[in-house]
Point group: C2
Chain length 605, copies 2
């Protein structure tokens, strides 16, 4: 028997199970960035009792665990396997948990004229008469005075009973020109918009007749069990095609749960939901629909489909009304997905007449430029460093994460999310810290840590220089929280990827950063970052701060807009068709620009 602390949750182990398997089985969510490959070191757990029943420390574990870690009983949960049955107790430290994460669902509210694809028409239907034979369906069409071209089979199945039970006064629900339901006049007409992020799902329940958002919810994308980054998940699928349906099922379960949670909160039922609008990057899009995403990982990275798609919710696997539909926004390219199209809609950059930029920062960052004449997009692999991965004390936005940092006279001032005792540092905090270190010459332009400034803040761990942000005695993890030279290199690479994308786009279109009228920063990390820090380390171009707009989950906003407006759906298809995708790798000087962007200094071009 294995016991997980501090929950005291128990579970029967089998020979060969890893601690990660058993933790998941016990419904304790342990972080696993690499999907159990022993490559990220994020799933550290402490074996309190029964170390002798587990496999010996592996080579992979040695590269992530210090001697002290090992002697304290730390293991990587994905590597430690049960060799023999016995009483095992394992403590899951707060930093290895997917627990109190701050999940970003807020986004700008872009006004949209209400004209949803789903419409309710209340009608009084004539009863059939012997003199002129008409079907229930004929009589319904007469009452609707509409050119409805088709009727769903589920609707036909319930039609005769509903008409008679409701005494021939009913609500007919139409999806464009198809009748998808006939029910009580009092029925609600709801819709659900969902942003399928690689790591996070954000869902919105809307009243399609008032346009109001009735509820919001979010959860971690359960697919992160198979790797926090997309390529790891695709690799799983390439190795074993059956994983496609496993990953899809995990996702659908979570989305269905979100819908249930939100409808319950407003005393509605899943059968009141008639449409789901989904956005996500191209991998998430494919995975959601059960389409093989393998080729996204192979040059030339073609998506299987770009066009917007509408399917029956049943076919997709969502539990909403029997006749309900799923609309998925179009993709632009293998690495510029429907979420980017949604963000374009939400920020309305396609409407502006002066040059503007939209940057949706994530593990993959999409950058879209409107040069005043057309839309141009690049995608750049900024990596998960801003989400805390590959950063020694990096964590995602969670209670206790250091979210902003200032250095004053070699004193480190910081603020944590929820004012929790520091557990680590999240993206915006790292950006601040690096920007401040540059400001105080603790870092030079090349990113080298100068140990002669603020000597008291610098220590070495295994030869690698580190800047101490918080002393061990003030943290929740009984260790100094530091930023290491290695962390700085990771952030340099990540910000260089974004800067390169911006520079290539502007170069390609002959636009200078001074020409930019607006820069929209979308995405969870983008909401929290300090734009000044981002400019100072050379991630964003130097533009007046007033031109920078942090728009939060713009993809979610775009999805909601399409749910509320058939016109916006057509706009999405129109916009997606017009975006010119530029493949970074084939642009001239790409390599030079990237190397130059590694530098920690402001730029404008």
């Amino acid at each position: 028997m294995i016991t997980f602390l501090p929950e005291n949750r128990r579970c029967e182990e089998r020979i060969g199970d890893t601690l990660l398997d058993l933790a998941l089985k016990s419904k304790i969510e342990v972080i696993s960035v690499c999907g159990g490959l022993g490559a990220c070191g994020k799933c550290k757990v402490r074996v309190v009792k029964g170390r002798e029943f587990l496999s010996p420390i592996s080579h992979k574990e040695r590269s992530f665990l210090t001697i002290e870690d090992i002697s304290s009983g730390y293991r990587l949960a994905c590597q430690a396997k049960v060799l023999k049955k016995g009483e095992i107790e394992v403590e899951i430290p707060v930093t290895s948990r997917r627990g109190a994460y701050i999940l970003q669902v807020e986004g700008i509210e872009t006004p949209v004229t209400l004209s949803p694809s789903v419409k309710r028409i209340c009608v009084k239907v004539k009863k059939p008469a012997l003199k002129s034979v008409k079907s229930d369906h004929d009589l319904l069409l007469e009452a609707l005075k509409t050119e409805a071209r088709s009727i769903s089979i589920s609707c036909l199945r319930s039609l005769p009973v509903v008409l008679r039970n409701e005494k021939w006064e009913v609500s007919a629900i139409l999806y464009k020109d198809e009748i998808i339901d006939v029910r009580s006049k009092k029925a609600k007409v709801l819709g659900f918009a969902v942003d399928l992020g690689s790591t996070k799902l954000a869902g919105y329940l809307l009243d399609l007749e008032t346009g109001k958002t009735l509820g919001k919810t979010s959860r971690l994308n359960p697919q992160v069990r198979y790797g926090e980054d997309i390529l790891t998940r695709i690799t799983h699928i390439m190795k074993d095609k059956r994983k496609l349906s496993v990953l899809r099922a995990l996702l659908l379960k979570a989305v269905n749960e979100m819908i249930r949670e939100l409808v319950k909160a407003v005393n509605a039922s899943t059968s009141d939901v008639y449409e789901v609008v989904a956005v996500g990057n191209t991998y998430m899009h494919h995975s959601f629909l059960g389409i093989d995403p393998s080729y996204l990982a192979l040059s030339p990275y073609p998506p299987v489909v770009r066009k917007a798609l509408t399917y029956d919710a049943k076919e997709v696997g969502l539990t909403i009304n029997e006749g309900g539909k799923v609309y998925v926004l179009p993709n632009i390219a293998g690495f510029v997905g429907a979420d980017c199209v949604a963000a374009i809609l939400a920020t309305e950059i396609y409407k502006l007449e002066k040059p503007c930029l939209m940057i949706d920062i994530g593990t993959n960052t999409e950058i879209v430029l409107n040069d005043g004449k057309g839309l141009f997009a690049v995608s750049t692999a900024s990596g998960p460093a801003f989400e805390g991965a590959h950063i020694k004390f990096g964590v995602r936005a969670m209670i206790g994460a250091i979210e902003s940092v200032a250095i004053r006279n070699c004193d480190v001032l910081y603020r944590t999310i929820g004012n929790g005792k520091p557990v680590g540092i999240c993206g915006s905090g790292i950006l601040d810290a690096i920007s401040q270190m540059v400001e105080h010459s603790i870092l030079d332009e090349s990113g080298r840590l100068n140990e002669n400034v603020c000597k008291e803040l610098v220590k070495r761990d295994g030869g690698i220089k580190e800047l101490i942000l918080v002393d061990k005695d003030k943290t929740a993890i009984n260790e100094d929280i530091t930023i290491s030279q290695k962390d700085i290199r990771e952030i340099q690479k990540a910000k260089a990827a974004i800067a390169t994308g911006i520079k290539v786009l502007l170069n390609n279109r002959g636009i200078s950063s001074d020409d930019l009228e607006a820069v929209f920063i979308a995405g969870a990390f983008g909401t929290y970052l300090d734009p000044l820090s981002a400019i100072k380390i050379g991630m964003l171009p130097r533009v007046p701060l007033v031109k920078i707009h942090q728009v939060g989950n713009a993809a979610g906003t775009g999805a909601r807009m399409c749910l509320l407006s058939d016109y916006m759906k057509r706009k999405a298809e129109d916009v997606a068709g017009k975006v010119n995708y530029i493949e970074l790798a084939v642009e001239p000087y790409f390599q030079e620009i990237y190397l130059d962007s590694i530098k920690l200094k402001e730029y404008n071009i």
Copy 2:
């Protein structure tokens, strides 16, 4: 343990099971016209051993069994229940079996220009290139040079793998403007047409590229277990709504089996079948689609839907290609279904400029008149007498059924199907017999049996006069095969129903039977009947025999035509919308006409 003879098939009985239940469980198909209500007397079986373990002879059984029957061990299988376990042996006589039935699948071949909804386009698709990012779907559309508006989700799911496995040379299968499959260039493109008769299913496998019928098959409609006539089945559903899905599942299973049987015979697979076109009366139509048919049995008998419908085969429950479709022809009224529309197409009566009549004889007979200006239809409850029900020695077309009769000098000459030893008399035989009896004045116009002509042929059974057709020693059932006064009354009612429909229609449109250019007789019974006999007993109007066309399963032909031609589908919808349904019961003089039509004499009007 119960044993069924002569198969020696054994099965474990439970207390309370009827012999009918146990026979079905043992996969022995016993006829049950009434669906186990004890109302038809068709499920006679002989208990050879273990009578003491069964319930006593019920009141209902007494009305169907003679004293001799009872003493020989005869029971109605639906009434005899197991009261105690023991060794029971039951013999199922050939006349109580659904066995060697002659199932009618042949119908006229009406030529049609090949233009199916399902089309294959062979294409060479360009491979994706890094310079201009395109999705697999985009590249396919480019190669197709078509305005395909949508693509099925199943097709998207297999698209990337198929394109690469087939080295970018594939067959794209389109259904109208939707891409429903992409597969090997060598793929077959098949379709299946099915006539869903109340008692019989007739299926046809077609090559949609050559238009050839590759195979035909038929089987009894397994729903007959719940009653051979539709109203009995609807009553089951009205009493217990769950029966709708039970009846639907039985039907779908049989249809799926027919498809499997036919594709196997031509070395194809069910995934080569892209479309099913189905026709049937309105009840069968509703039952096939899972639509509640209850209201068909309640005045004013409205169907739930009349319009033609196209659904995904998966939604309907048919196992063909993942992206396959089901097209169901339109209905005209509650008792004039899609099968009648198909028969109109097959006989092409909608095209003729001179008046003509189409009569599709079944338990319910549909009659359509083209008066030269428009189409007019009535439906009339002719009952199952022509299929042998409610006729003392009546059987359906089966080996040994007497199919034609002539009386010469008080000698009865007859022919049986397959030259089998006589087991009973089927519809065409009864018609001949009655016509001959009228001819020889054995029957008068009112239908009274005159026992003074051919005295030797007449006997009495319980006071009821009977004409002996075959002596006991020449039959397979060890009994005289006779036609009783009661049988004659049944046939009079049945033929009067048809004649009334014809007369009302002609009257209503002011057409005389001399004006008729053609009379088409469709349906299995209609194929075998002797038109002269039908005229002589006053079932059909007196028209020159040359104008009468026996067209067999015209409904099946119409279904095949729609499978081969999108144009014919539109024609079906057009024709169905134009047929004027006339409700017999509300026509003036209906009652008088019916009473007059009871008479056994020729008519023309």
